[in-house]
Amino acid sequence: MENNLPNRERLKIKRQPMPEQDPIIRAANFNEVNLGFSKEAALQEALRCLQCPKPTCIEGCPVNIKIPEFINLIVKEDFAGAVAKIKEDNSLPAVCGRVCPQEEQCEAKCILDKRFEAVSIGRLERFVADWERESGQFQVPEKAPETGRKIAIIGSGPSGLACATDLAIMGHDVTVFEALHEFGGVLVYGIPEFRLPKHILKVEIDNLKNLGVKFVKNFIAGRIATLNELFTEGFEAIFVGVGAGLPWFMNIPGENLNGVYSANEFLTRVNLMRAYDFPNWDTPIQIGKNVAVIGGGNTAMDAVRTAKRLGAKRAMIFYRRSEAEMPARIEEVHHAKEEGVEFHTLVSPIRYEGDENGWVKKAVSVRMELGEPDASGRRRPVLIPDSEFEMEIDQVVVAIGNGSNPIIGQTTPDLTLNSWGNIVVEESSGKTSKRGVFAGGDIVTGGATVILAMGAGRKAAKAIQKYLENNEW
């Protein structure tokens, strides 16, 4: 392919559309919505990159992937080289290419974004990662000679997996301990199949096993073994990546009625426990007809689109600000709309009412308007007086965020937590208040993103290496 195409020609190439399942069909199945670029589309899209001498996209990426370099390798049809380039900075490109909010990160910083459309960096990342998986041409990273030093990783979400990968490559004896019966954290129990097929994750985990990482499931660290006990068993350093936990509720009347779920419960039943295939799988889920999902983040979008797929007639988002303030990825909002999800913005429920058997049947809400910006910089929703209204619903999914996972904190008294229960760490290294213990991901930051969790895991891996070398805290 032509590599020294003048910019003028590059600018003429249109941003390549992502092939998708038809909205009407996909709203009734759990298969992946985005089908991925063809090779031709990827090559066209890659040509759009101007190969800026001072690329700003890299700054926009939380882990600073060398974006122009990997795109240039795509242009040269060296897909293996392109994946290898990405993997220098990101261990899970097939995942991040699908779920990162690129429009706020790398693509927002793309020079083309202002006058034209940004290069589809995320889709290109996904393309090469998929190419690697589908062609089976995985490059097994070169491993340093075995050091025999044991490291424990608590939690198998993106932070733990990333940390494990790097430490295994450094030659250490790494064990990942996971509380649930499948590995992947939110990637397996939270993010639905239609956005992130489980087999992709499975391949990533198999690769890690091939690298020599040991995986132990059903291991609730803190309860079955405290961190001190793990040290006694010979682990020299521990990385804690236990993620967010404890879903928040609004504490309004009626939230414990039947038919009211946290998003975590709703999504876990469907994803981890396969309730969509009940009774072939044992775990049931209530099939709502009129479903209100409270919140405007990715979790809310995943829940509402799941409700639609399970058969809801009306799948609705209730969000207390306007669409512009929604934290969800634009693509998810767009997909949800195409699938027929209703958006009720500037609406906040104040109570739920139930029938005589304790099932939710009505949401009473108030309308809001936007006031002054708050601490987050987003305009604060302000109640409109006398705006109460009712809506018939038979299911509610509360998706307003999570607190922190309590078990490690409860069972490790010398670990410093902040007032929200998040583990306090030294930014640059992930070092906690407890010698030999590192932490990263949502348990440190509160609910954030896959790429930030992954980045934190890698940072900690570097710091662990240093700690093993100099034994300094």
């Binding site: 509720f249 414990n256 039947n258 044992d282 049931p284 209530q286």
Partner: protein, 291 residues
């Protein structure tokens, strides 16, 4: 020995079975009042079960299962030598045990399996422990021998009078209270209506009353909130804040409704399960016939 291997089973009553399973780490760590979450097979749901007993040396734990839904009935078909797919624990806060004086443990149905380790630990801590076991009928009275060995005095009631005193556990408790036998603490574990009735009774006597709540759970680590209940007007997550709470403060009516959330689906699973069983029987017959 492989993890999660069933080493022993014992039928304690109709549809009530004891399983001793290898789980060395849990056996070593668990304390009275804690539970595990288990998946019987690949498609199984995650079911919480209280650890009734454990043998740290042998590396085994004991759970007692009542065949209610399709999952638990499938579990009952397992025998020694079988493996359970997943087993995680110990979960929940351990029972707070201290020397108080007289402790009465009231239990109904498989609740006796939960009450037993608590009664035993209370006894060990220097308390005098009485046990009241209730059941619908004689063959549903479980763990009588074990409970007798671990406590100072045991009372049995059956609804139909086929064994022990005829009546409910609350009738027996009322008699004791009337006789001036007022415990310093009471532990009530069993079906919700029973725990509720016992808590109502002890409220007027101001007897501190602990109940163990069995809400529907998934992860058991505080991640899903499916297990929530209202205690003292506040929402709690039973798996991490409990499972034991002050019986005088629990909203039993709400918990009762929440426990029934999946009744319809359970019927469906049961139908699928019986269908499967019928097919298996047919297949067996066919095999015999063709052989």
């Amino acid at each position: 020995m492989p993890l999660n291997k069933i080493v022993k089973t014992e039928l304690l009553g109709p549809e009530v079975k004891l399983f001793e399973i290898t789980a060395p780490r849990i056996a070593k760590k668990r304390k009275a009042g804690q539970f595990i979450i288990l998946r019987v097979d690949d498609h199984g749901e995650r079911i919480p079960l209280t650890i009734a007993d454990a043998d740290a040396e042998k590396g085994t734990i004991t759970v007692i299962v009542q065949g209610l839904g399709a999952t638990s009935k499938r579990f009952l078909q397992k025998e020694a030598g079988d493996i359970v797919w997943d087993l995680a624990g110990p979960l929940g806060k351990p029972t707070h045990i201290e020397k108080r004086g007289l402790v009465i443990a009231v239990s109904g149905g498989v609740g006796t399996a939960v009450a037993m380790p608590i009664a035993a630990a209370s006894k060990k801590a220097g308390n005098t422990v009485y046990s009241i076991i209730g059941a619908r009928t004689k063959e549903l009275v479980i763990l009588e021998k074990e409970m007798t060995e671990r406590t100072d005095k045991i009372f049995i009631t059956t609804d139909d009078g086929s064994y022990g005193r005829k009546g409910l556990v609350t009738d027996q408790l009322k008699s004791l209270l009337d006789d001036g036998i007022i415990p310093d603490e009471l532990v009530a574990i069993g079906p919700l209506p029973m725990m509720r009735a016992v808590s109502e009774l002890t409220r007027s006597y101001n007897i501190p009353t602990v109940v163990s709540l069995n809400s529907i759970m998934i992860d058991g680590t505080g991640m899903c909130g499916g297990c929530r209940a209202t205690v003292d007007g506040k929402t709690v997550f039973v798996c991490v804040d409990g499972p034991e709470f002050d019986g005088h403060k629990v909203d039993f009516a709400e918990l009762g409704r929440r426990q029934k959330a999946y009744l319809e689906q359970e019927k469906q699973s049961m139908e699928a399960f019986s269908h499967q069983c019928r097919l298996e029987v047919k297949a067996k017959k066919l095999k015999i016939e063709t052989a």
